[in-house]
Every structure is written in structure tokens, then in C-alpha cells.
């Protein structure tokens, strides 16, 4: 795929790695916020290839992991209703609520459909006027414009049987919360490239100022991640901190103005609870007053949900980068991808799942730099 393959070139990766290795003189802790970046790092073994002194702390950039437990339980309740067709991205289907997940609800008769795009859910609503179609609108700022468009279209086209259960989260308040945590070790951030494609970069300089941390807008392909890390370690080694854009091809400073305009119409900023972390003020979006009619929480009046989080799960500390997954007592024993106690073990980019699935084998980092060949 053009503009993807070139950014997967192992030869160029080697050059970026050489530069990083030549630059790093002391230990640094860098947090990548976005779960997609975590996935890419672990999948390609990038964490094994960078210098041992550079520690990648995996941040809470996994909307699956941070969707509040109450909202999962509301989703399960709504999805259980016979008149409802409940649509969701595939990521959410195995996230445990208080005792069940969407797969279990499906097995009990719930009509649950995986969709690729929120417009597919809207289409289902138009094709099934006698059913209530509810879309689980989760995600960071990247997914917000598509979700907003689905609601906007529902209102414009007059699709009364469509509604959305919204749980959007925003990156900048999360960075604030992480830096304010007393045990925080993060010295720099890789900002989420596609979030910035939408929102632009202007929300980050105030954070750079406030905490004196480098923030580098970074993409997702291996070369993008390495370039983001490279820019970051250069700043760190020189004692500098400023906002840098290492993903300029997809991130203009103003982001996407058309998308931001729609977001301001369809969504309102709200306080949002992050599973495992707690409430972060102004860290989320909910549907605005104008679109109240399409808000599934109001339409279905799901009240009195008793939530039951595992007492053992420490995903909040993992999400903030305070502990590594294997430092949790339940890791790999009571808590596995097969039987997850918390969301970080469910999502394919949740740190716990990533460690369990991909890193159970301990291999020394230096020997992996040669590409193996089979005779």
C-alpha cells in the first residue's frame, strides 16, 4: 500500500535505530499515549530494538481499556433488550462488564452486530424501522468525527430509531492527569498522530509549558514510531522541551477544521470517568443538547446499574505507567486474555494483553537486531 510500505522499510528502520543508539547517553522514560502505537511497538518488537535505557511506558490510549465500567454495564443492559440491535466496533465485544461481556449477551439472545463504520449502524436503522438500533460510540478524538457524522445524519435524514451510547475521551486532559500523579515517571510523550490529524496540535504547547516535557506528534508505522522516538531522545539529551511534529504528512497544525466544526455542534465536553484511573475533568465528550434525542442513555433510561469491578485488578496503575503488567499479582494466573479481570487484558493493545501475548518469551534485546535467515 503506497505511503504504508515505504514506512515499513527495514533498511531505513536500521538507520533510525542507529541514530537513536548514537544519541542516547542516559535513561529516559517515554510514554506513547495511543493504543495503536502500543500495538505497533509490541508487534514489530520496537521496544526490543531501541536502547535498553529508553523505556516505553504504555499509556491509557486504548478507548477499550478506559471506557468506564458503568458504561459497559449500560451497554450490556441495552443490548439485552429484545427490540434492540446493538452495533459495536469489534474491539468492545470481549470487554468485561460486571460479570458479563457482549459475547455472553449475544449467546443469551441479544442481537449484537460488529460494524466497520458507524454509518453501517445508521444503515441498519434505516433498513429495520421496527427495531431500535443503538451504536456504541467509543474512541478518542479520531473516532469522534465519524461518530458525530452518524448522529448528524440520523437527525438530518430523520431516522428516529437510531441512537448512540457515547463514551468519547480526549487525550490532552489525560496527559494532564498522568503528569499530576505523584508517582509519575514520564519524561516525554509521543502524541497520537491521528488524534492530531483531527484536532491539530495547539492543545499541546500548554502541556509542554506546564510540565517541561517534550511532546512529539508521532504516526503508527514502524518508521513513524522510530522517528517519533528519535526526535524525542534528541530533545531529552539536549535538555529541551517543545512540541514537535514527526507526522507532518498527516497532521497540519490546524487539524481538520470541518471535523472540529461538526464536533463542536454534536458533542459537548464533559467530565469522564476513566476505568482504572478515575474521573478526569473535561476529559470526555457527550452528545450536545441539540442531539439529546439520539442519546441512548436518555432514550433507554438505564438507571441503577450496580457495578462490580474486580478487587484484584490493577489496570489503572498499568494505564498510568506506574507498574508493568507482570508486576501485578494476578497477571498470567487469575488474569489472562482468556479470563480477563480488567480491560487492559482484553484489548489487543491493552498493555497487559500485549505483554501476555507477545512478551512471554524473554529474549535479550541486542541479539534481535539482525534479521534472522533460514537456511
Amino acid at each position: 500500500m503506497k505511503y504504508l510500505d515505504e514506512f515499513n522499510d527495514p533498511e531505513l528502520a536500521k538507520r533510525l535505530l542507529d541514530d537513536i543508539h548514537a544519541t542516547v547517553k542516559q535513561p529516559w522514560a517515554i510514554m506513547e499515549v495511543c493504543g495503536g502505537q502500543t500495538h505497533s511497538i509490541i508487534r514489530h518488537g520496537i521496544d526490543q530494538l531501541i536502547p535498553d535505557q529508553v523505556e516505553m511506558i504504555h499509556g491509557p490510549g486504548c478507548p477499550v481499556c478506559v471506557t468506564p465500567l458503568e458504561l459497559i454495564d449500560k451497554a450490556l443492559e441495552i443490548a439485552s433488550r429484545p427490540e434492540v440491535i446493538f452495533c459495536s466496533f469489534g474491539d468492545m465485544l470481549r470487554v468485561p462488564g460486571s460479570g458479563r461481556d457482549l459475547f455472553r449477551v449475544k449467546s443469551e439472545g441479544g442481537d449484537i452486530r460488529v460494524v466497520y463504520s458507524p454509518l453501517d449502524a445508521l444503515k441498519l436503522a434505516r433498513e429495520n424501522p421496527d427495531r431500535e438500533v443503538v451504536f456504541f460510540g467509543i474512541g478518542f478524538e479520531t473516532t469522534a468525527p465519524p461518530n458525530a457524522m452518524a448522529v448528524f445524519q440520523a437527525k438530518r435524514l430523520g431516522v428516529p430509531n437510531f441512537s448512540m451510547l457515547v463514551s468519547h475521551v480526549r487525550v490532552p486532559p489525560a496527559i494532564d492527569a498522568i503528569m499530576q500523579s505523584p508517582a509519575c515517571r514520564v519524561q516525554a510523550f509521543l502524541a497520537a498522530g491521528h488524534v492530531c490529524s483531527v484536532m491539530g496540535t495547539q492543545e499541546y504547547p500548554p502541556l509542554v509549558e506546564r510540565y517541561s516535557v517534550p511532546i512529539v506528534v508521532t504516526g503508527f508505522e514502524p518508521l513513524d514510531i522510530l522517528e517519533g522516538i528519535r526526535h524525542t531522545v534528541h530533545q531529552l539529551e539536549r535538555g529541551e522541551s517543545y512540541l514537535d511534529n514527526a507526522y507532518a504528512r498527516a497532521v497540519p497544525p490546524e487539524g481538520n477544521l470541518a471535523a472540529r466544526k461538526l464536533l463542536s455542534e454534536v458533542f459537548t465536553v464533559t467530565d469522564r470517568g476513566w476505568r482504572g484511573i478515575g474521573v478526569i475533568p473535561d476529559s470526555g465528550w457527550r452528545l450536545s443538547e441539540t442531539y439529546r434525542d439520539f442519546d441512548a442513555e436518555y432514550r433507554f433510561q438505564v438507571g441503577d446499574i450496580h457495578t462490580d469491578e474486580s478487587a484484584v485488578c490493577r489496570s489503572g496503575e498499568v494505564l498510568q505507567g506506574l507498574i508493568k503488567p507482570h508486576e501485578c499479582a494476578a497477571f498470567g494466573t487469575q488474569c489472562t486474555p482468556r479470563n480477563p479481570l480488567g480491560a487492559t487484558m482484553v484489548s489487543s493493545e491493552g498493555a497487559c494483553a500485549a505483554y501476555y501475548l507477545y512478551r512471554r518469551l524473554n529474549t535479550p534485546s541486542t541479539s534481535q537486531r539482525e534479521v534472522a535467515s533460514i537456511g
Binding site: 500500500m1 504504508l4 515499513n8 527495514p10 528502520a13 493504543g35 495503536g36 500495538h39 509490541i42 508487534r43 514489530h44 518488537g45 520496537i46 521496544d47 526490543q48 530494538l49 486504548c62 478507548p63 477499550v64 466496533f89 469489534g90 474491539d91 465485544l93 470481549r94 459475547f103 455472553r104 449475544k106 449467546s107 443469551e108 460488529v114 466497520y116 474512541g139 473516532t143 514502524p222 494466573t333 489472562t336 486474555p337 482468556r338 479470563n339 484489548s347 489487543s348 493493545e349 501475548l357 507477545y358 512478551r359 512471554r360 518469551l361 529474549t363 534481535q368 537486531r369 539482525e370 534479521v371 534472522a372 535467515s373 533460514i374
Partner: protein, 356 residues
């Protein structure tokens, strides 16, 4: 080889497994995904009920009957959509069971087929499925010798479900089993992976392909015969259907107690399959295949077997993708294009598209 276990009544309390089925009191879709949950269902519900089989848990069982070694297999087909680029449930039903037999080195001979038809299904659909089955059987040189048909109420089936079972003779000197892989064995795949699953997904997700990605369903016994002609001592064979290549490799690694080390850049993935997977957030290693096999070949024969595969129409894209090692027994590890490593685990249930 699986140890003999006396059949016992189901007793949930007595299970030693740390994550037994008791946490899921109903069947969920994951149980049919071909991954860990499917394996647990078999291991904790079916095997205790039936008692273990002498054949272990391979694609097909090899049993002795009247002095002959017979491979015996069954498979049920519930694919949606029924008709997809490159074939239909009918082709899968015939080729799938033929391939299960071929994975024991058997020459497939006879098939049975059972239909569960939903009331209200158009006869034309059933006719097309049957016609595809007949054509596939004739092309493969096997006969469908017996069958059964049942009809269920409208709403209680999904138009057509097909079950096939098959028999074939295993030549002497051939002992192909999932537990025979050894350190030093070379892992060879017969062609590009991920094709069938993406062909199916293309219909479901509205993906169009510039050059058509069509299912690779095919009967593989002629390819296996060509490989056996080089050496009867193939160690393990598997056709990686549900759960993809990753599942098959994990099953053999676990059964044999060997480690499997793969080289990512050696694994053949067609560009369109890779791109479709990128769009949907899927890993080609977990996508279903049909007319493909993976072989564990003793190192001394690997070059000759590879050459024989490449010379055969069904194996033109054959490639060495890895080897068995003594390290990390029962684990499959891939060396990435960048030189890092990651473990390739068995999927839990079905792989779903993701947005993250």
C-alpha cells in the same frame, strides 16, 4: 499420543483447569472460532464424555480396522455467505473433509454428507450447493456414497448447514501426526495465506478487490501424494482453516512439545490480503485458509519436498517459513521484519476487525 481416560460423568467441581468452562455457562461464538475456547470445549466437555480417542486430536483420526489403517474425519460447514468469490459451502464441504484425510497422508476415497435445511430455503440454493459438491467430488476423484437430509423450522437454521465425513486408506510407512514434529524440522507452507478468510470478509464488509481475491478452496491430496513420493516420513501436516496458520502451528507445537520459530518476511501474504488486513485491523496469521497446508518436514528432506511442492499446481507458492527449535517448547515465536521477536499465540475465539 493422548493418554487413555475413562469416560466420567460431567463434574464441574472436579476440573483442575484454572479457567474451566464454568465461567461461561452458555455456548458463545468463541467456542466455534477454532482457537483456545474451541479446544477447551473439546478437552473439558467432549473428551471426558466420549473418552479419549487413540488418534489424539488431529484433523482426522487414523484407526485400524480389519488390518487396514483408515483415516476417518468429519466436518460441519456453517459458512456465511453460502456463495462467495471462488466457491461455495459445497466446495468447502467436500474439499475440507478430503483435506482433513489428506493431512494424515491418506488417499481420500468416500464421503458421506448430511444436510440440515431450513424450511423456506429456495430449492435453487440447495441445488447449487449439491451441484458444487458433486463437481468437487468428481474433480477430486472421491465418491459421495451416503447421506442424510433433515429440515428444521424456518428461523431455526441458516438456510443450509452441511456435514461431511470421509474415509481413506493410509499407506504403510506413513505416520503423520501432530505430535511428531522435532527440533530441526523445517516448516513449509504450500502457498499464500489469508486468502479464503479475506474473500469471505470481502462480501461481509463490502470490500472490492481490483484483482479478485477468490477463495483458495482446493482438494490437497494430490499435493500430499507428491510430497510423500519424496519421502513417506513427513512428520506433521495441517490445513490451517479456522484460526489461521497461527492456530495450526500452535497445535502442533504444543502436541509435539517443540518450539516453532518463524521468519515474518518469509511468510507469503498477497498484497491485497495484507492491505485488507491493515484496513480491518486483522493479522493474516489468524485469517482462515482453505486450499493450503503447512508441513513439518525432517530437515534432510526439506529441499526436495519444497521442490516437489513448487513443481505441483497446488504448491506453486510454497515457501519455507520457519523451523522447529528446542527453545521455548510449545510456543510459536516470530522474528519480525525489523529483527524483533513476538510470541504468536492461539487466538481465543474468532478474530474480529478492530478500530484501535
Amino acid at each position: 499420543m493422548a493418554e487413555a481416560v475413562d469416560a466420567q460423568p460431567l463434574d464441574f467441581e472436579g476440573w483442575a483447569c484454572p479457567v474451566p468452562l464454568r465461567d461461561s455457562p452458555t455456548i458463545v461464538m468463541g467456542h466455534g472460532g477454532g482457537g483456545q475456547m474451541s479446544a477447551e470445549l473439546i478437552e473439558h466437555l467432549f473428551v471426558p464424555a466420549f473418552g479419549s480417542s487413540p488418534g489424539g486430536l488431529a484433523d482426522s483420526a487414523v484407526v485400524e480396522l480389519g488390518g487396514a489403517r483408515i483415516a476417518f474425519s468429519t466436518d460441519t460447514f456453517v459458512v456465511r455467505p453460502l456463495f462467495f468469490p471462488g466457491g461455495s459451502i459445497g466446495h468447502l464441504a467436500v474439499n475440507g473433509t478430503i483435506n482433513d484425510l489428506a493431512m494424515s497422508g491418506a488417499t481420500p476415497a468416500h464421503l458421506s454428507c448430511g444436510f440440515v435445511l431450513e424450511e423456506g430455503t429456495e430449492l435453487g440454493i440447495v441445488g447449487r450447493v449439491a451441484s458444487d459438491m458433486g463437481a468437487a467430488a468428481r474433480a477430486a476423484g472421491v465418491t459421495i456414497v451416503t447421506g442424510d437430509t433433515k429440515v428444521v423450522d424456518s428461523g431455526h437454521g441458516d438456510q443450509v448447514y452441511v456435514n461431511t465425513a470421509g474415509l481413506g486408506l493410509v499407506p504403510s510407512g506413513v505416520d503423520i501426526r501432530p505430535d511428531r514434529a522435532r527440533p530441526g524440522d523445517v516448516v513449509i507452507v504450500s502457498g499464500a495465506i489469508g486468502v479464503h478468510g479475506i474473500a469471505i470478509m470481502s462480501v461481509r464488509e463490502g470490500l472490492g478487490f481490483g484483482s479478485e481475491i477468490t477463495s483458495d478452496t482446493a482438494a490437497l491430496h494430490p499435493l500430499v501424494a507428491a510430497m510423500l513420493a519424496v519421502t513417506p516420513d513427513l512428520h506433521a501436516l495441517r490445513d490451517p482453516t479456522r484460526g489461521g496458520l497461527a492456530t495450526s502451528l500452535n497445535e502442533i507445537a504444543t502436541a509435539s512439545g517443540v518450539g516453532v520459530r518463524l521468519v515474518e518476511k518469509a511468510i507469503p501474504v498477497p498484497a491485497e490480503v495484507g492491505n485488507a488486513c491493515s484496513m480491518l485491523g486483522l493479522d493474516p496469521l489468524y485469517v482462515a485458509n482453505e486450499g493450503k497446508l503447512v508441513a513439518f518436514v525432517p530437515r534432510e528432506h526439506s529441499d526436495a519436498v519444497l521442490a516437489a511442492m513448487r513443481a505441483h499446481p497446488l504448491g506453486g507458492g510454497a515457501a519455507i517459513i520457519g523451523e522447529c527449535v528446542e527453545d521455548h517448547p510449545s510456543m510459536v515465536v516470530v522474528t519480525t521484519t525489523f529483527g524483533g521477536t513476538r510470541v504468536v499465540d492461539t487466538p481465543l475465539g474468532e478474530q474480529l476487525p478492530r478500530i484501535c
